[in-house]
């Protein structure tokens, strides 16, 4: 099903003929290289902002696998982000996990949650799918408040002490160091982008796009569309949880805001802004949106209004988002 066909942009042939010089891979690696080099020229403030943006962009990349490529509009992805956030945060505070183990715990929480939730919500489609995902996310939010004894609810809790040092392969990483944080965030984003790219260029990606474009036809070509949608939802939810876990561990704060409806809507907006069903779109969208809020909030307290107006204008004039529009204007090979 495609909830709203207009912003959902098809990808061009995933067709074979891979030459030695893979243009698509090159473009995506170049984008990651630019992010790597940016750390040497940015001021402290932008350096920190970009680290945050890269973690949130990973969330957006994950969201886009379900929304952009499979055509399922979830309004409840905050629950997966929060599963990673709390999975990592609580593993650290309640179970005294180290940073690496806590990160894996967060991912695992997202994997389990998205599998269970997926098996239920994928019985619905269209508007009911949107509502049901939102309701589950709301239940998750209320749970984070209800178990305030552990989560400290709205106020949240701060990670401190040993958990601020990650141990991996015999090396130690100081998570309070801006450089370490930046490069871990970049590594996470790079993995998410490359996973997404490999997925959408594979035969499975072609099936997901087929489901988005015409689910009944996909079924009559022999595809178990339920299983493929579940797969997309689990990949999407798990990547979102990885972003949540990284956010908790890198920025040392876990709070119920991240489980609220706002964090279900944000990835949708980031993806719409950057380009639905494009690999790089979510990153660009997250970056622009972050700075849009940042800059307008300096001038007016009604910054959300300004952001809202900007988004409406965007949907009206660039319904396919930035990368989606570029793709229409000649970069047809961009996945």
């Amino acid at each position: 099903m495609s909830v709203d066909s207009s912003p959902i942009q098809p990808t061009k042939p995933v067709a074979g003929r891979r030459s030695l010089f893979d243009k698509v891979l090159f473009v995506h690696l170049a984008a990651l290289a630019i992010l790597f080099l940016a750390q040497f020229v940015l001021s402290d403030y932008h350096h920190l902002t970009l680290a945050r943006v890269m973690v949130l962009a990973s969330f957006a990349v994950g969201y886009n696998i379900l929304f952009g490529y499979t055509g399922l509009l979830s309004l409840g992805h905050a629950m997966f982000f929060a599963a990673g956030l709390y999975g990592a945060g609580l593993a650290a505070t309640q179970l005294s996990f180290g940073a690496s183990e806590a990160f894996l715990a967060g991912i695992f929480a997202g994997l389990v949650l998205s599998t269970l939730i997926g098996m239920i919500v994928l019985r619905t489609s269209g508007v009911s799918f949107m509502i049901v995902t939102m309701m589950f996310a709301q239940a998750g939010y209320l749970m984070s408040l209800y178990f305030g004894e552990f989560t400290r609810g709205d106020e949240g809790f701060v990670l401190q002490g040993d958990i601020r040092t990650a141990h991996l392969f015999g090396l130690s990483f100081d998570l309070t160091s801006p450089d370490v944080r930046y490069n871990i965030a970049l590594a996470l984003l790079a993995v998410c982008v490359l996973v997404c790219l490999a997925l959408v260029r594979s035969p499975i990606g072609r099936i997901l796009i087929a489901i988005r474009e015409n689910e009944e036809r996909a079924r009559m070509l022999g595809y178990d569309t339920y299983r493929n949608k579940l797969f997309a939802l689990v990949v999407s939810g798990t990547i979102s949880a990885a972003a949540g876990a990284a956010y908790a561990l890198l920025f040392a704060y876990v709070g119920a805001t991240f489980a609220s409806i706002q964090y279900s809507i944000l990835p949708l907006l980031w993806v719409l802004l950057g380009g639905v069903g494009t690999v790089l779109g979510p990153i660009l969208g997250t970056l622009l949106m972050f700075y849009l809020v940042d800059i307008t909030s300096e001038y007016t307290s009604a910054y959300m209004l300004a952001v809202g107006v900007a988004l409406i204008a965007l949907v009206l004039f660039f319904p396919k988002g930035i990368i989606g529009t570029l793709r229409d204007k000649g970069l047809k090979w961009l996945p």
């Binding site: 042939p13 067709a15 072609r206 099936i207 087929a210 474009e213 036809r217 070509l221």
Partner: protein, 247 residues
């Protein structure tokens, strides 16, 4: 005849509310034949083949394919067994390329053959897509977006997708609807070629096409089978003439 029964239905029914779209139908297909189903609008032809391919589930009755009861199998599993359906109303992936449309069909077959979807042999995939496109004559349009094909070519793309599934039973639901005379002639040749490897079940309003292609004809009316026989028998059947041919 020593011929094998490929498919049979027993007391197959499908009701929509009070409407008996398909009512207690016993229908049998022999392996390798080209069968046409004809009948007036609303006779239940599309519903009958939809029951066979699993797009619609029966209200009652049984469907047996190659000796196994498939009545409860979901549609995608039946495709796996070799039943392919091409839609009466053109249903392609309009936003995807011609290549991708057919590749989606080929992939199913390759996976059925045991290939993993993560490591599919691209060379085989490409070769088989091109083979299917060549058969229907769309090989020079493989990189076009499907939506930009002419209507006739979109119908051919549907057939190519059906072919690429390498089915045992290919169901064509009014494939010549909206085609030009030249395209219809080409389609008849194509069907004869397809019929060498597969059983073909054809719903068709164009009587010239039916008389040309079909070895046997089933006539439906009001959800039931009215008559069945060779083209000559059907042409001479009075009940058929009254109900349908109007001659």
């Amino acid at each position: 005849m020593a011929a094998m029964t490929l498919l049979s239905t027993e007391s197959l029914s499908r009701h929509f509310g009070g409407l008996r779209a398909v009512d207690d139908v016993a229908f049998t297909l022999t392996e390798g034949e080209v069968r046409a189903i004809i009948g007036p609008n609303g006779a239940g032809k599309t519903t009958l083949v939809s029951l066979i391919c699993g797009r619609v589930m029966p209200s009652a009755g049984k469907i047996v394919f190659e000796g196994t009861d498939i009545s409860a199998l979901p549609a995608h599993r039946r495709v796996g067994l070799g039943i392919a359906y091409t839609f009466q109303i053109t249903s392609i992936f309009a936003n995807l390329s011609v290549y991708d449309n057919v590749a989606l069909a080929v992939q199913t077959g390759m996976r059925r053959g045991g290939a993993s979807l993560f490591f599919l042999n691209e060379a085989t995939l490409i070769a088989r897509v091109e083979e299917a496109l060549e058969k229907v004559g769309l090989d020079d349009r493989r990189d076009m977006q499907a939506a930009n094909l002419s209507y006739g070519h979109q119908r051919l793309l549907e057939v190519a997708m059906g072919l690429a599934l390498r089915p045992k039973l290919l169901i064509l639901d009014e494939p010549t609807q909206g085609l030009s005379d030249a395209e219809i002639a080409g389609f008849c040749d194509l069907t004869r070629a397809i019929a060498k490897d597969a059983t073909v079940l054809l719903i068709e309003h164009n009587m010239d096409v039916v008389m040309d292609l079909a070895e046997r004809i089933t006539v439906m009316n009001n959800g039931a089978i009215l008559s069945e026989g060779t083209p000559a028998e059907i042409r001479d059947d009075e009940r058929v003439q009254r109900a349908y041919l109007g001659t």
